[in-house]
Amino acid sequence: MCNACGYPAAPGPWTEAGAATPGDRLRTRFHRVAVLNRILRPYGLSADDGGWVPGLQLGRLTGERVLVGDLGALWQEAERFLGHPIDPLDPRYLDD
């Protein structure tokens, strides 16, 4: 944990696992934010990753932006914005 800012408070987001080199990690972050934007756009949300600061920014059409530390926090904030969670088993993904 960073002594100055206390980030990250909870160690080890499991969603960061798997990248072996710094290059992999950076590539993964940019790839991930592209996929996230594809998912979030229909909900009127967007994600942004500065690349060097930790975490992601989640924004909505009103201009409100929040900094989220990991994907778990991102889904939580998205639920707060929308009033319901983004559910991968939602009929919109399952129905024809």
Partner: protein, 333 residues
Amino acid sequence: MAIRSIRWTPDIWMTRPDGRLRLTLLGGALGSGKTTWARHQLHLARFGRSVHVLVNEAAETPIDDQLLTGAQGVTVLAGGCACCTGRAALMASLRELCNRRSSGGALQPDRVLLETSGLADPGAIVRAIQADPVLLHHILLDEVIVAVDALHALAQLRDEPLCRRQIAAADRMILTKADVAPPAALNILRATLRQENGHAATEACAFGETLPLPPLPPEAIAVKLPDPDAADCRGPPVTASLRLPAGLDWSDTLLWLSALLHARGDEIVRVKGVLRTPAGRILLQSVCKVVQQPEILPDTAKARADDVLVVIGRGFRGAELDRSIRRFLGGAP
């Protein structure tokens, strides 16, 4: 430099498996034969020689001295179930064991066998450990073993929602007292257990000695269990194997899984699987919303089960998962 490397060094996120204290959880209903089984396994050194045993008794009970043979040390956590009232004592004991390892004394356990009280929900203990910022880095949950009383488990499953939670959390189920259970009743129990928890391995034993278990005959019918509460009214949990679509990036799988567990964490009881990543094969496992720190597995020839996720829970059909992961990541409106 220091701060930057803290954020980005994967070793901080994923402590190598050899650095962490292995934890085996042994659960099961009261009187289901946990201690008998554990004593015999310790005698045979199935858990290795440097194993520390933590015994949680909901009531104050003197411990069997024979349990000590084969174990490096025994700690009794009496007077309070470790998943609720005795949780602080359990956490303190685990921290003490981690400290002992870090400080390099003579008795350094490699493994902890935690025998829970019959009233404990193993899932609650796993969640408590994962929520602890220290233990998270020092403890690796190896296996959840649940002792199942071959004589009484059917009645317990029918009456006790707790018993079903214990079964649902198991990686391995030990059918105790299997020598005295009628074969027909044993088959019904096995079919019922498979309905409740399709992924756990099943073993039979008598007084801790493993008994051969014949394959389950197809005519064995599972007992229909009553609904413990409204949330479970969709029947027994579904066990689905999701083979990840070819060409799918591993990080996309984690993305989908994180969304799924956020939205459906109360219904999806367990996820387990091995993913191929640039860092190697990583083992993913979750209990409810909690995902354990992924562990890097050695590369082996037996990689056929890679990129398959086993998902256990309610509120979905197995075939929907494949559709969900494809359409969700594609951003279907």
